[in-house]
């Protein structure tokens, strides 16, 4: 009799724990977590994701390993499609950049948008600076814009894809100032710098850490920073707004998101992990070393960020004459 009562009590307790919604065990990963990036090994996102996975592992913020998985192709199309397939999967995350927002706008094959996925957190904002050769006559952004106005279509800027931040920045500056200059796309970062150093183009939008070494060697000069406030490592370089060119700063953001159909408490778990990670000294050091801006953002503000960014991209691309397909 006693045993039967005891068994009944245990069964009731178990039923209570498992039955009542919200009383389920708190979520925690029980097998290695996949982190999907849209570049191949060695690409920007890949290295960033590996560095972060390594740091999170060192801080022991997650009981399981974070494993970077490369799903490159079509910009971010393949990676996003892969995440969309993993509906409801709680052990998969994706590393997004600005490309994840712009790619679906211009590419018909990229059928998955950021709205289809579950945003978790934005981690960094990558600032950019405008660089020219050290022996060029442009000492400030104003000089360059004036020269471009005098000789429309003669000056050249090297950069990446036409939907990338560097070209979009050029488009908004052109619209605000009436100047016009040419954008020459180079698929590889090395070639963009090489063409600037070789004098084949006059200007380039680059990341501060790329510029740093060439400035130290005296090859390049930074004439503006494309940020809201001056960069700590370039404290004597005025921002674009300070120089009288009132344009929105087009951000290059990086962060994490999850596949569609992931439940609220899983999202909260990952938000918590990233939130704690963003406060660690190792992360602060990484931000400092790479000259990134801490762009930590979650929840409703993050959704708003994506919406705003999408609208901004749509406007700028349409003005540029790039075909919008979605």
């Amino acid at each position: 009799m006693k045993l039967k009562n005891f068994a009944l009590a245990v069964a009731l307790l178990l039923a209570w724990f498992l039955g009542i919604p919200g009383q389920a065990w708190p979520f925690g990963p029980t097998k290695p977590v996949e982190v999907v990036v849209h570049t191949g090994p060695g690409g920007g996102s890949d290295l960033f994701a590996r560095a972060i996975s390594e740091m999170i592992g060192k801080e022991k913020l997650v009981p399981q390993r974070l494993q970077v998985v490369n799903k490159s192709g079509g910009g971010s199309a393949v990676a996003m499609a892969y995440l969309a397939e993993k509906k409801g999967d709680t052990h998969t995350l994706g590393f997004f950049t600005g490309v994840w927002v712009t790619n679906p706008l211009t590419s018909k094959e990229a059928s998955v948008t950021v709205k289809d996925l579950t945003p978790i957190a934005r981690l960094v904002l990558e600032p950019a600076v405008v660089a020219v050769k050290a022996d060029s006559p442009y000492k400030s952004m104003k000089d360059f814009v004036e020269a471009a106005k005098k000789n429309p279509g003669q000056l050249r800027q090297s950069g990446g894809s036409v939907t990338g931040r560097d070209n979009l920045t050029r488009l908004v500056i052109e619209k605000a100032t009436g100047a016009k200059w040419v954008f020459v796309s180079f698929p590889g970062g090395g070639e963009r710098i090489a063409n600037l150093l070789g004098g084949h183009v006059q200007m380039m939008v680059m990341e501060p850490q790329e510029a740093g070494e060439h400035i130290k060697a005296g090859n390049l000069r930074v004439i503006a920073s494309l940020t809201e406030s001056r960069l700590p490592s370039f404290s004597n370089v005025p921002t674009i707004k300070e120089q009288g060119i009132d344009v929105p700063v087009i951000p290059q953001a990086r962060g994490l998101l999850a596949p569609p159909g992931v439940s609220g408490d899983v999202v909260k778990y990952w938000e918590g992990v990233i939130g704690r990670f963003a406060k660690t000294p190792a992360w602060k050091k990484y931000l400092n070393d790479n000259q990134f801006e801490d762009g930590f953002l979650t929840g409703g503000s993050l959704n708003k960020f994506f919406d705003d960014l999408g609208l901004q991209m749509r406007d700028v691309l349409k003005e540029a004459g790039v075909k919008i397909v979605r």
Binding site: G40, P41, G42, D46, L47, R50, A51, E54, N70, K71, S72, G73, G74, G75, A77, V78, A81, T106, S107, K108, E109, A110, S111, G153, Q154, R156, S161, V162, T163, V182, F183, V184, S185, F186, P187, G188, G189, G190, E191, I193, A194, N195, L197, G198, G199, H200, V201, Q209, G212, E213, H214, K216, A217, N219, V322, K323
Partner: protein, 504 residues
């Protein structure tokens, strides 16, 4: 002399026990990576990066560089023995290397590949040591119009790859150029010829095309033969398994050609070892006394491209170490690795970190010697692969090819593409269309179009920019000369015949 002092410093670092060990690990891994089609140095180096965090940065760099140039040594093995290009830079080696294997000269082919790689690799290191800063500065003068001209020179080489029918060769090149256009246009972000397939947004992978055309095509053709596929003659005796003195003598121009061409192409960011190997092969044939033998199994046809793709690694390290500019996928990862280890790659790297630079340079000498010692004795061992009966060998080739194609992006789509190009290779061979021009068109097509459009953007639509600059004009002239060279041979033959007829 300053360089000698630095070299002594470098060797004192490179010959330490730890660095020797990791150098060996690197070159060994590199050789394996090179042999396996589909897996390449970029992926390997990226995967091993976390391991290097605990290592001394110079040692880590030595190992990574070892993987880089080691892969170039290994790539020739499967190209020669099985017509399966292990690396995209080894595609050209398939042309003559595989034919040499069919003639029973696989050993000499493998041996010459190793020796040429050693000679050219050493030249690349010498170039890096003595010529790095001025060569880097010269390379900066190459803008889009110069790249365009260089690609035109490459395409002009097609006249040397066509075999008997020029028309078929040109047709194959045009198909290759078209295939190069599949993907996303950089300038307008529009997709071309993707037929709605997301996997084609980045274009067709070159290694899939080459493995399909060469390896699968070859297997299919042999399957069809009623007499049963030929079993390759494997010569006996060590003397027949290594290159003869005559081979070495025949290849002496190829050694120089491969070394110089590879190094300079390597210095140009974005040019790559595939282009270097094609150019070197074409030049070798252009200036050869017996050009009609190329494609049928000529030893220089192996020496030149194999040398070129090795000295290219030395060249690619020049912009990386002197300017902090990566020229290829592998050097981009090395650049990122240098960042991760706390270095600041840029114009001041050599002055601020002499230990890293000179230690690396010295270890590259050591690595090249290690690779020669590793590869030469293994030549007879590898040559025995040809003894494997065809009913085991062909499925193995299929298997390696499929795994190689799949491992590129972990996608079955690439395997389907492999099948399609395998069938194409079979039909091309049946109808006597040469495959090499198609591959050449693909490799050069992307760069050619990119350079042309970049140049036109720079000049606002005026074509004159292509001939207005001295460097590009000179190269375009050279291309025209190359195009007319086969004609010169014919004119000479007519003249000889005319003179003979007059004398009769």
């Amino acid at each position: 002399m300053d360089a000698i002092n630095n070299l002594v410093l470098g060797f004192s670092i490179a010959l330490s026990a730890a660095n020797l060990f990791w150098c060996f690990v690197g070159v060994f891994l590199g050789t394996i990576v090179g042999v396996l089609p589909g897996l390449g140095p970029p992926a390997t180096i990226a995967l091993l990066l976390p391991l290097t965090f605990k290592m001394d940065p110079t040692t880590a760099m030595i190992m990574m560089a070892g993987i880089y140039y080691g892969a170039k040594y290994g790539g020739s093995t499967t190209s020669i023995l099985l017509n399966v290009p292990g690396e995209s830079a080894s595609v050209v080696t398939c042309l003559d290397g595989y034919q040499l294997a069919r003639q029973g000269r696989a050993g000499p082919a493998l041996g010459i590949a190793a020796i040429a790689s050693f000679v050219a690799g050493s030249f690349g290191v010498l170039g890096l040591m003595f010529m790095a800063p001025p060569v880097a500065r010269f390379a900066l003068r190459f803008g889009p119009p110069e790249y365009f001209a260089l690609m035109v020179v490459g395409l002009a080489m097609v006249v040397f790859l066509t075999g008997r029918s020029m028309v078929k060769g040109v047709l194959a090149t045009l198909v290759g150029l078209w295939l190069a256009g599949v993907g996303t246009d950089v300038f307008t972000a529009q997709s071309r010829f993707t037929f709605g397939h997301m996997e084609l947004l980045d274009g067709i992978d070159f290694i899939v095309v080459s493995i399909g055309l060469f390896a699968i095509g070859e297997v299919l053709i042999n399957l069809e033969s009623r007499t049963g596929a030929q079993i390759f003659k494997v010569p006996r005796g060590l003397r027949n398994l290594l290159p003869t003195l005559k081979d070495l003598k025949d290849s002496r121009f190829a050694f120089v050609n491969g070394s110089v061409v590879g190094f300079f192409i390597g210095v140009l960011p974005g040019a790559g070892s595939t282009i270097a190997s094609f150019l070197s092969y074409g030049l070798e044939k252009a200036f050869s006394r017996n050009p009609e033998m190329f494609g049928a199994g000529v030893i220089e046809g192996v020496a030149a491209p194999e040398g070129a793709n090795n000295s290219e690694t030395g060249g690619a390290l020049v912009p990386l170490l002197t300017l902090g500019i990566p020229g290829s996928a592998t050097t981009a990862i090395l650049l990122a690795a240098l960042h991760l280890w706390g270095f600041r790659p840029g114009p001041l790297l050599i002055q601020e970190n002499p230990n890293l630079f000179w230690g690396l340079v010295a270890s590259m000498y050591v690595g090249n010697v290690m690779l020669l010692v590793l590869n030469l004795p293994l030549v007879p061992v590898f040559a025995q692969i040809l003894k494997v009966p065809y009913f085991v060998l062909y499925p193995a080739i299929f298997g390696i090819s499929i795994i190689g194609a799949y491992s590129i992006s972990n996608s079955l789509f690439d395997v389907w593409m492999l099948g399609i190009f395998g069938l194409l290779g079979y039909f091309m061979r049946k109808l006597d269309y040469p495959a090499a021009p198609l591959v050449l068109g693909m490799v050069l097509g992307k760069r050619l179009e990119l350079a042309l459009r970049q140049s036109l953007m720079m000049s606002q639509g005026r074509l004159s920019i292509l001939v207005g600059r001295p460097l590009s004009a000179a190269m375009l002239l050279f291309a025209v000369v190359l195009l007319f060279m086969p004609m010169l041979g014919r004119v000479r033959a007519w003249r000889t015949r005319a003179i003979e007829q007059e004398l009769l």
